[in-house]
């Protein structure tokens, strides 16, 4: 009895040792910088349907490039940056990464982002709008292919508008306030403000600021206490005081969905300022009721002359720490993926993926190829507003600045601080963050 038990234990211990060895052997890894097959990993945060499309595109590419194997790795949006940070510098990390333009300055400073080879840089210059090429260019070098472009607009529920007897969406802040008040009753709020998600808080807020003639930065100095900026905080305060905005209804979770989306989808929120990319979410969640969604430019403030929404973009970059052969394969794949041969009817495969989510592509020929789809009533307003958009500044320390502003805007929304106090504090925190990052 006792013998058999000890034998069992020995067996177990032996098994453990064997598995350990096996797993050690299993990691004898494939840094593979040799001349053979190049495995290129593509890090993204896209949803499964888009990942599938990307995988299909990669499979097509592999038929003409048999020595390249493209693997797609998807992580949740909330984990994308931390994944890049921990694994970016290791040679076995992702070869291609889809990144938010705000992250680029740091990646360039630390030499993680590889500058595009000359031929690819020329391709970019020739085929993309100049302001987007500018966005991915640091110190005279381009660092990747811009793909998705997002900007903000006012989304509203036509049915709720009709029920409240409002004929047209608001064009000014004054109309916005008046309409919001009319739309507010029972468990409905007139105007939704997003909380708990940095971009979701800061971008709509700054879109109102830009439509009031204000700007966030002058060089690397924040302008949050300027009257044209602070006026947006006052507007939020008035909306909250009038109960037209119910702060708790705007919560977003780590996946950038949650109550703010649910409330709009279910006709509990009359208006909200959101980016074009959520069209896909709205369609899926609303079904037939999607027909109720209307879009209008961001309302203009008292000091503003025209509507201007915040815009930002995403780009795909190549990891400078990857072996050269992998980098070369990666650039080839990106040029093809973003080029006119990879997709349907002159579109790039990338643009087909983006359009499936309602996201605006950026390559000139893609805008043309998808002209019909882009005249969809939802997207049309966004496309029309693109020339007037204010790009969110991509500066070192931008993420920290953004989260500092987020906190103080939320303080206004939740009544934790007066608009003046909040903007003063936001100014100080944002200035400190930028100063630390740009000594």
């Amino acid at each position: 009895m006792r013998v058999s038990r000890s034998r069992l234990l020995r067996l177990l211990a032996g098994g453990a040792a064997a598995v350990l060895l096996a797993s050690a052997a299993g990691c004898g890894d494939d840094a593979g910088s040799g001349g053979g097959k190049q495995t290129v990993t593509f890090l993204t945060h896209w949803a499964p349907d888009q990942v599938k499309m990307l995988e299909d595109a990669a499979a097509v590419f592999e038929t003409t490039h048999p020595n390249v194997d493209v693997q797609i790795r998807a992580v949740p949006f909330a984990n994308l940056l931390s994944t890049l940070r921990t694994q970016g510098a290791s040679p076995s990390g992702p070869t291609i990464a889809s990144i938010y333009d705000l992250w680029l300055p740091e990646l360039v400073r630390d030499a993680i982002a590889a500058p595009a080879p000359d031929a690819k840089a020329a391709d970019l210059k020739a085929n993309w709008p100049a302001n987007l090429v500018e966005d991915v260019t640091k110190g005279g070098k381009a660092y990747g292919y811009p793909n998705e472009v997002d900007l903000y607009a006012l989304n509203y529920n036509k049915k709720m508008f009709a029920d409240a007897g409002i004929a047209a969406p608001p064009a000014t802040w004054a109309e916005l306030e008046a309409d919001a008040a009319k739309l507010t009753k029972g468990d409905q709020q007139g105007f939704g403000v997003i909380t708990s998600w940095p971009a979701g808080v800061v971008h709509p807020f700054l879109s109102l600021v830009a439509s009031n003639g204000g700007q966030l930065l002058n060089g690397t100095t924040p302008q949050l206490t300027e009257p044209k900026v602070a006026a947006a905080a006052d507007l939020y305060k008035r909306l909250v005081d009038a109960k037209s905005t119910v702060a708790t209804m705007g919560q977003a979770n780590a996946n950038t969905t949650g109550p703010y989306l649910d409330n709009f989808v279910n006709g509990k929120t009359g208006m909200i300022i959101m980016a074009n990319w959520w069209q896909g979410s709205l369609k899926q969640a609303m079904g037939d009721k999607y027909a109720d969604v209307g879009v209008a430019p961001v309302p203009v403030g008292p000091s503003g002359t025209k509507s201007s929404a915040i815009s930002y973009s995403w780009l795909t970059m190549v990891n400078a720490k990857a072996p050269q052969a992998k980098q070369d394969a990666a650039w080839e794949f990106l040029a093809w993926l973003n080029g006119p041969e990879s997709g349907k009817n002159g579109s790039s495969a990338m643009a087909d993926v983006l359009m499936s989510m309602g996201i605006l592509p950026s390559r000139n020929s893609d805008l043309k190829a998808h002209e019909a789809a882009l005249s969809d009533p939802f997207l049309k307003v966004y496309v029309e507003q693109l020339p007037n958009a204010t790009p969110f500044p991509t500066v070192l320390g931008g993420e920290q600045m953004s989260q500092a502003i987020q906190k103080h805007v939320e303080d206004v929304v939740f009544g934790k601080a007066t608009p003046a106090e909040a903007m003063k504090a936001a100014q100080d925190d944002a200035a400190a963050a930028l100063q630390k990052a740009n000594p």
Binding site: G15, L20, C27
Partner: protein, 273 residues
């Protein structure tokens, strides 16, 4: 009065049973609702129509099956290793005398206080410098010993009578032999307890595997679940995420239920001593 107390007790116990179960119930009904019903406001408390599609979808969209296998491998090896290191160290701390023993013991146990996030950055750097990024060994290596395990085993080893060990020594048995044939059999409840504890610990650990692993064919199920989260942005997949959450929880719940009598009885002894 007596009766009133009894009714109070029954009501209290019922509440005590409902409180833990409600979220699990909600997890289940969310996984069997249709996407349309799931995004309804207010939510339905029992699905109008049951659909188990989510349970097949979850195995399609992420490699959930192999992720379960990976978790079994990681949790299994981790558990065995924690048992080996804890029994060894616990035995020595309980039955050997040497200078600085207690200081060493409490220092080791004190690392229980350390939030893992504190050392995450250098730990990742060390493991990747060893070339172990994106490997099972990299996931396991830093956690092959566990302070709680050492603590638990030492407490139970203290109960083993010295006479038994001395008698075996007089018989001329070697130390390792004594440990295997005399001490370990007496520790059986503790071994089961620690095994369950370690299995649950490894199965549920999230932050470290997330930092170390890169290729999704090596992902344990908790990471597959976090991968599913990016799918949650799409309403169609919300029931799938819930189904995944439920499937991922089943092994630990089963292991716990199978051993609960021994486990609860012995894990509680850690607090008494």
């Amino acid at each position: 009065m007596r009766r009133l107390a009894r009714i109070g007790a029954v009501v209290g116990l019922a509440a005590a049973a409902v409180f833990p179960l409600f979220p699990l119930y909600w997890m289940f009904i969310s996984s069997v609702k249709s996407p349309a019903e799931l995004s309804e406001i207010p939510p339905t408390w029992w699905p109008r129509e049951l659909t188990f599609d989510a349970y097949t979808t979850v195995f399609d969209v992420v490699p959930f099956g192999s992720a379960m296998a990976n978790s079994v491998l990681i949790a299994g090896v981790g558990t065995l290793s924690v048992l080996v290191t804890s029994i060894g160290a616990g035995y020595v701390f309980a039955k050997y005398r040497f200078r600085g023993r207690d200081a060493l013991f409490w220092t080791l146990v004190g690392t229980m206080f350390l939030p893992p996030i504190v050392t995450l950055v250098p730990l990742y750097w060390m493991v990747s410098s060893l070339g172990l990024a994106d490997s099972y060994l990299g996931v396991l290596l830093p956690w092959l010993a566990n302070p709680f395990g050492i603590f638990l085993m030492r407490q139970f080893c203290l109960d083993v009578p010295d006479e038994l060990i001395d008698a075996a020594r007089v018989d001329g048995a070697g130390e390792l032999r004594i440990l295997w044939t005399v001490v370990v059999p007496l520790l059986r409840p503790a071994v089961v307890t620690l095994a369950v504890f370690a299995f649950v610990y490894y199965w549920n650990s999230f932050l470290w595997p997330l930092s170390v692993l890169q290729s999704d064919d090596k992902f344990p199920v908790v990471l597959a679940l976090s991968q599913l989260l990016s799918y949650a942005t799409s309403v169609r997949y919300q029931s799938v995420v819930m189904a995944g959450a439920l499937v991922a929880s089943i092994p630990t719940i089963v292991v716990f239920l199978l051993t609960q009598r021994v486990f609860i009885q012995n894990i509680s002894r850690t607090g008494v001593k």
